[in-house]
């Protein structure tokens, strides 16, 4: 019944990508976008989505050059082996760092909202253990988990926000297009951090059963995420107003608190949004551990990826134990995004495409 050839369908890849991106970034997204773009935050997110689509196009075009080769082999083939290994190690380090910081953020929020007395190490270790176990089972297992988790997260989430629509003041989205273009651009740049994780496309592309369909599938996924982000940001701003959204650390969490569920059988809905966050954090840590181990395996060319997962686990755990508050962790995530993130999402694919053009390299079909 299951092929166990480590290949996944485009649908599964889309579900994985959406889960990887839908994390801590989305909870703070309305605040970041509204801080600069005000009530036009939805426009800033639309601009960020367009930039993300362009980035996906670049990455998948680079991936099409040698669609069956792994990421490290692709870079090595075009730019030389030492560069390929260096980029592989750097990306692996970046993913592990992201994992650690996301875990830190997750642990902090969990401590403040639900489990104040539970040691952070317990929360962190439990999440790493379960994510590592899932990652050790291979990409197909991850894909099937994503197919199960996707409706579990998005259907109730969407339902809650549609309910929230009945008690919002849509005039809070006025006046439209009144924000200055420079502030819109700044808002778009800050909103772009919500798309952190897109660089995984380059590593994941060789796992697709139809590698030449990856571009279309990933663009669809990014557009879906963008529309979803615009929807929840608009509802949140309509509820609180742009000024109040800017003041809240986690506007989405506060939004959930104010929604009245029909039947009123659940008094506090924060537990629901936290369950979404737990699942999406699992997806992020799981993908970080999996892809880091795959990259390290490709760099060294030895051993199985499970061995490298075992090596990465204490690194992520140690990184997450650094004492950072939510604000500091958020700043570090942004810093890493604006440097390494953009480097891997835009600059590296552009360099690979340029190198391929200069050397007239690449798979013949990839050039079509």
């Amino acid at each position: 019944m299951f092929s166990l050839n480590n290949k996944i369908s485009i649908r599964q890849m889309q579900a994985l990508l959406v889960l990887d991106i839908f994390g801590a970034g989305i909870v703070m997204l309305p605040r970041k976008a509204a801080k600069y773009a005000g009530q036009d935050a939805w426009l800033a997110i639309a601009a960020a989505t367009a930039a993300a689509v362009l980035s996906v196009y670049l990455m998948t075009s680079a991936g099409r050059l040698y669609p069956r080769d792994s990421f490290v082999n692709l870079v090595s083939g075009l730019l030389s082996k030492p560069v390929g290994k260096f980029v592989g190690v750097l990306l692996s380090a970046k993913l592990l760092f992201n994992c650690a910081i996301e875990l830190r953020l997750f642990g902090e929020i969990l401590r403040q909202t639900m489990l104040p007395a539970t040691p952070f190490a317990v929360v962190c270790a439990a999440m790493i253990a379960i994510s590592a176990y899932a990652a050790s089972k291979g990409y197909e297992t991850r894909a099937r988990i994503a197919q199960i988790l996707f409706p579990l997260i998005f259907v109730p989430f969407t339902f809650l926000f549609v309910l929230g629509l009945f008690d919002v003041d849509l005039s809070n989205l006025l006046p439209v297009f009144a924000t200055k273009p420079d502030k819109l651009l700044t808002g778009a740049i800050h909103a772009g951090t919500a798309f952190s994780g897109l660089e995984l496309i380059m590593i994941a592309a060789p796992f697709a059963v139809r590698p030449y369909a990856v571009r279309r599938g990933m663009i669809q996924a990014v557009v879906f995420i963008g529309i979803f982000m615009i929807f929840i940001t608009s509802v949140t701003i309509a509820k609180f107003g742009p000024g109040e959204v800017t003041r809240q650390l986690w506007p989405i969490l506060d939004m959930m608190d104010l929604i009245d569920l029909p039947g009123a059988f659940i008094e506090r809905q924060e537990a629901l949004i936290m369950s979404f966050w737990i699942i999406s954090n699992f997806a992020i840590v799981n993908s970080g551990l999996f892809f880091s181990s795959v990259l390290l395996k490709d760099v060294t060319g030895k051993g199985s990826h499970s061995l490298y997962i075992l090596m990465c686990m204490p690194v992520v755990f140690a990184g997450s134990c650094f004492m950072l508050d939510v604000d500091q962790a958020d700043h570090i995530i942004e810093l890493v995004f604006y440097t390494l993130g953009i480097g891997f999402m835009i600059i590296l694919p552009a360099v690979l495409l340029a190198a391929a053009a200069l050397r007239k390299a690449g798979d013949a079909r990839g050039k079509s």
């Binding site: 539970t118 439990a126 253990a129 109040e244 104010l258």
Partner: protein, 389 residues
């Protein structure tokens, strides 16, 4: 070999279950003290206290909890509550003292109602810190109802209303049934009040007062406290509160009584939709408030003959229009000239509806608001006079 593999697979599952039991944060439900209502007052310095820290006391916080020991007969019994109170220099200090005096772990996650006493409302610093404390505590829901009182909040919490549940539950049910219905159904949740205070520094907090008769205690809703720059600036009575509610579109199911031809005719509001526009007239800012009201006549003089006459019906409609206009106008006049508070948040509305005017007048808004001419324009449509129209 198979058993060994199976136990290896089960080990992570078992570990995950073990670690997810919430060992550190579990609280048995009977050990939780669910606070339903909170009351905050300014500390009464005339109170005698045995504590050495008395001179530093600034707040009295009261909390009403369901009494587990008394709840034998019914959960809705008015006797099934305990009211605890504590004095301290801070809100969190008061809550800690109450916690220390209780065998249960007090939990603020189910608070439905917050009552603020007049003394607290009149003190800007105390009020600011109280609002901040409520906002910062993530346990406290932002959709709890906010009420003000001219007396002490603690006294309101201690009221026993015969046949009704404890006050927080009573208020929650009351507003769910009658919320938005004019002056008595006008309600404010914590989130909205905080948002208003940050936006214009002004908000209204509905009023609750004790009403004692020979037979029993009771409560009365109506009127509201006007807060300006985080300090009590005045009180609005029932008609003035409804004058505000007309502008906010919160008068559905309200009942307006008009005297016409020596008859008292109540009309039940079925729909009330305001439309507010801003414009410049002779260099002066003008705010036009158009309110379209649809209503049904609830009582007449048992003949209905007058109501079948179109010209009479038109006259009644005109009388209602004048009554509603008068309420809106009187409230606007009072808050502009006497209290000087933008309770309607017209500043934000101007920004949304006419951004160009906002750029000109938004800067020195307090002055422009007081000089702005507010013109109510009401249209009443009586769509039902009884069984047949």
């Amino acid at each position: 070999m198979g058993n060994h593999r199976r136990s290896r697979r089960l080990l992570p599952v078992a570990l995950a279950c073990l670690l997810s039991t919430g060992c550190w944060d579990k609280v048995e439900i009977e050990n939780r003290g669910f606070i339903i209502s909170l009351g905050i007052d300014k500390y009464d310095s005339n109170k005698k206290s045995s504590r050495a820290e008395e001179e530093y006391n600034r707040y009295t916080v009261s909390a009403a909890l369901p009494s587990v020991t008394d709840m034998k007969e019914s959960a809705v019994s008015d006797k099934s509550k305990d009211v605890k109170s504590a004095d301290n220099s801070t809100i969190s200090g008061c809550i800690q003292l109450m916690d220390a005096a209780s065998s249960q772990k007090l939990y603020l996650g189910q608070v439905k109602l917050l009552v603020l006493g007049k003394g607290l409302l009149s003190d800007e610093n105390l009020f600011r810190q109280a609002v901040d404390a409520m906002e910062r505590d993530r346990d406290i829901s932002r959709k709890l109802f906010l009420l003000s009182t001219k007396e002490r909040a603690e006294d309101i919490l201690r009221l026993n209303i015969p046949g009704e549940p404890m006050l927080g539950l009573f208020v929650e049910n009351y507003y769910k049934n009658s919320g938005g219905a004019g002056f008595y159904g006008f309600y404010k949740v914590l989130e909205k009040s905080i948002s208003d205070l940050r936006s214009t520094g002004c908000t209204l907090i509905p009023e609750i007062e004790a009403e004692e008769t020979d037979k029993a205690e009771g409560i009365r809703f109506g009127g509201c406290a006007v807060i300006k720059d985080c300090k009590l600036a005045g009180w609005l009575d029932d008609p003035e509160t409804r004058g505000y509610a007309w502008v906010m579109g919160n008068c559905r199911n309200s009942s307006v009584t008009v005297v016409y031809n020596n008859m008292y005719i109540p009309i039940k509001v079925l729909k009330s939709r305001p439309r507010i526009t801003f414009s410049l007239k002779n260099g002066k800012l003008e705010c036009l408030i158009r309110v379209n009201v649809s209503g049904a006549v609830k009582e007449y003089d048992f003949t209905a003959a007058g109501l079948n006459n179109p010209s009479n019906l038109k006259a009644y409609q005109t009388a209602f229009e004048q009554a509603v206009s008068k309420e809106i106008g009187q409230t606007a006049d009072r808050v502009q000239s006497e209290i000087n508070a933008d309770i309607y948040n017209f500043k934000d509305l101007l920004r949304k509806k006419n951004y160009q005017l906002f750029l000109t007048y938004g800067e020195d808004w307090e002055r422009h608001y007081c000089e702005m001419e507010i013109i109510p324009q009401v249209k009443v449509d009586i769509i039902s006079i009884g069984t047949i129209k």
